[in-house]
Amino acid sequence: MTQFSGATGLVLNEPLLWEKGRKGRCGMSLPARDVDSVPIPEELVGEKPDLPDLSEVDVIRHYTRLSQWNFGVDTGTYPLGSCTMKYNPKINDKQARLAGFAGAHPLLPEEFCQGALRLMFELEGLLAEITGMDAVSLQPAAGAQGELTGMLIINAYHASRGKRRSRIIVPDTAHGTNPASAALCGLDVVKVKSNERGIIAPEVIDRTMDESVAGIMVTNPNTLGLFEEHILEIAGIVHSRGGLVYCDGANMNAVMGMVDMSATGIDVLHLNLHKTFSTPHGGGGPGAGPVCVRAHLEPFLPGPRVIVRDGRYSLSEDSPLSIGRVHGWYGSFGIMVRAYSYILSMGPELKRASQLAVLNANYVKERLKKVYHLAYDRPCMHECVFSDRSLKEHRVTSLDVVKRLMDYGIHPPTVYFPLVVSGAIMIEPPETESKQDLDLFIEAMEIIAEEAASQPDLLRSAPSKTKVRRLDETSAARSPCLAG
């Protein structure tokens, strides 16, 4: 019999920070006082901060225990769709900790920070090569900020030509950040439907695109894990009517070395370094969302930008068309160090990473489509999406299915996204998952499909092995308690 990872064992409770400790403890070494104390104007001084006082071992135990309540990529298979939960190499974390990087002040005189500037300059070049685009800004701090930056660029482009275009086309398969970023930029979102093959039909764009439309946001490969096969034709239509094409490249992990993004007719693209380029997700960030553009949009990129002259790197802000800053400094430098390290470690083998990611997804898709309803039965890219059609007869939800997966020791896939698939179960098994890992996942999903029929309550009350069982999200939202 297959041994799955899910089991129970001793896991330690831990109170809230302020339920621990005792006034007067201190878990940090304070430097010796070597200067006199200077009186402070009374009216400035506040109450002593109401924070708990703990010893170092109190703190260590608190967070050691908390950490063990979490499931990470290092814990096991994490096939979370739209998230590219690939292995995050430890060596890259080490590079980011190097004193010269970690300790560098962002305002160091240029001659005092050449290594950091060079790294950024080279990383831009590497990303340009991987995408085929002409210029890159590393400033956006995450994918969504990359999208916003892209929208601002498109806006600025139209403005520079004296136009104000107030609408943007966004397909129904788009990630929620897409319409939100467009809205933040003051654009009205024109929703278009993907077709029965899960992609955008050029006719729809032809009908929608006009002079009031600034452009289109396409995710490619899209959130159904499908390549937008008509992207060239679509880009043609948009361009011919004065619009620009924005590509959400968060799914770049599917196509490195296989697709020339610039050849797909797009003008702006953002990447998620915390997905494709293996930087750890950190329980929700920090990330980095570089923006890549074709040459005609380079003047609009946020500043400052790193330039090189006679082998000396410096920061330049003299781009009058620039949209300005989107970050207080230059972006998530520590994340850039990791992504740069990853790219150098993989080199041209990045192509193989994409190939294997796509192989993994298709393998899972082919095997699971026998037991779950595959939303679009065709070859996929890096992820595949199932619907809840086969579950309904058992009155079991997609959520029930993936919660049950926890009991098998596997992290749930993404559910209920993309919205176009009823009860979507979105599975992304990145290239760092081995066939053995996938076989375990597939077998668990098969058993759960059986359980859905034979013991649906098992699913409805799942998970049973975790430290807490299903949580009451409704009452959490109804009477929110957000601080203690």
Binding site: I60, S67, Y87, A180, A263
Partner: protein
């Protein structure tokens, strides 16, 4: 390649299941015109050892402690970071997990972020803090947008003594939507002139930074009055939250929205990022707050637990109607701040803050005595502006001392002035060396 587990055999077995002859065939659906024709022209692959060498060479260049003495602050601060915090933060259950959408397997992150939110509220004197934003600059932009949403008005008054980068980011965020920004001048004492707030129409928010870019502590209570009397919200920003270990917090001075940068709480400077965008407000405004929130709840058995909550404010539910587009935030940095604050504690934070101020006062006094007078009379925390001709600044660079940030680039009227920062990491001996060099 050690990150790719597939052996040739396995690839064959899998291709068979998939029904493809080779890996390339998996991409048959990609139109010919979109295909990449040549191989990736990338260096490498480097071995782990080649990478180490390469990175060590790059990292050797930036000027850092202890070889250099860097008196730069201006939004990024050198503070001691306990090794215990670095160790804990490196535990991969924290670093390699995704956003805690699945609470049953994410209680570690969730409790920790709930604690972070709570610590922020306590420190800043606010009712609710979100689970983080990208950095201080975008936190300010979000705060301003939030004030605009709440008030339904379209003009914001920003002090000119707010960190210039933060102001630039606000302008970038506001530019396409046509909201107006009015800048408030600073006074001789380095604080903001609040008189110009009067009578501004359609005013959504008045924004002060405290300590401000010049290191001066603003009179927040007055700022609040000025804002409120115009029907605007009072937004305060900060780049050095350690100041609130000592000074009255913004909540206690009637701030409506508080935002800023949390890098000081245990994060390395890391050439400017990642940092921590902090945003806090009133519960009455919670539905207008951008970003994630962790809330307390119970599980099926009545056990305490935590979940992401009030998600209807967020993009993945509300899409174009969300309060913000933010998705990935700076969660691990929030955790970092919480670990740091847990380590230093309330008592320790007060002591540490005092040490920052006292050391800074020491250098102020010594600089003045050495003929480099302090520019502004307003009270400061661990930064201040003084006269320091740029030739002197350049000379000191050769001695491996960065004597603060020359301000001429940001404020032409302050050419020949430098913004100097002194934290607990600076010893008196180092400051005496600086003075000696200045006198020589």
């Amino acid at each position: 390649m050690r990150y790719l587990p597939h052996t040739d055999d396995e690839i064959r077995e899998m291709l068979e299941v998939v029904g493809n002859r080779d890996l390339d065939e998996l991409f048959a659906g990609v139109p010919e015109g979109c295909r990449r024709k040549e191989a990736l022209r990338l260096p490498g692959p480097l071995t782990e050892w080649e990478l180490n060498e390469h990175m060590a060479a790059l990292a050797r260049e930036p000027a850092v402690s202890p070889d250099y003495q860097v008196y730069l602050g201006a939004g990024s601060y050198e503070h001691h970071i306990p090794e215990s915090v670095s160790y804990l933060l490196g535990r991969s259950e924290f670093s390699t997990s995704y956003t805690p959408y699945q609470p049953e397997v994410s209680q570690g992150t969730l409790q920790a972020i709930y604690e972070y939110q709570s610590l922020m509220c306590r420190l800043l004197g606010m009712e609710v803090a979100n689970a983080s934003l990208y950095d201080g600059a975008s936190a300010l932009a979000e705060a301003v947008l939030m004030a605009i949403r709440i008030t339904g008005k379209g003009t914001v008054a920003l002090s000119n003594a707010i960190n210039p980068s933060y102001r630039q980011v606000v302008r970038t965020y506001l530019s396409p939507t046509g909201y107006a920004v009015k800048e408030l001048p600073y006074l001789q004492d380095g604080r903001t002139d609040m008189t110009s707030v009067q009578g501004v129409t359609d005013l959504a928010a008045v924004v002060l930074q405290s300590p401000n870019f010049f290191g001066c502590v603003e009179e927040l209570q007055q700022g609040a009055q000025a804002a409120h009397s115009e029907g605007a919200l009072f937004v305060t920003a900060f780049s050095e939250p350690l100041a609130y270990g000592l000074f009255k917090n913004p909540g206690g001075q009637d701030a409506d929205i508080v935002c800023g940068e949390g890098q000081s709480f245990g994060m390395p400077r890391s050439f400017g990022g990642p940092g921590l965008g902090i945003l806090a407000g009133r519960m009455a405004h919670v539905r207008n707050l951008p970003g994630r929130l962790v809330g307390l709840t119970k599980d099926l058995d009545g056990k305490r637990g935590f979940v992401l909550t009030l998600a209807t404010r967020e993009q993945h539910i509300r899409r174009e109607k969300a309060t913000s587009n933010i998705c990935t935030n700076n969660s691990l940095c929030a955790l970092n701040a919480a670990m740091y604050l847990a380590s230093v504690g309330g008592t320790g934070l007060r002591e540490l803050a005092l040490l920052n101020r006292d050391k800074c006062e020491y250098l102020k006094r010594e600089l003045t005595a050495a003929g480099f007078p302090v520019t502004f009379s307003g009270p400061t925390f661990n930064e201040f502006v003084c006269e320091l001709p740029s030739a002197v600044h350049r000379r000191l660079l050769q001695k491996k001392i960065v004597a603060g940030l020359p301000l001429g680039r940001y404020y032409p009227e302050l050419e020949g002035h430098s913004l100097i920062c002194v934290t607990e990491v600076r010893t008196r001996a180092q400051m005496d060396t600086l003075i000696k060099e200045l006198r020589s």
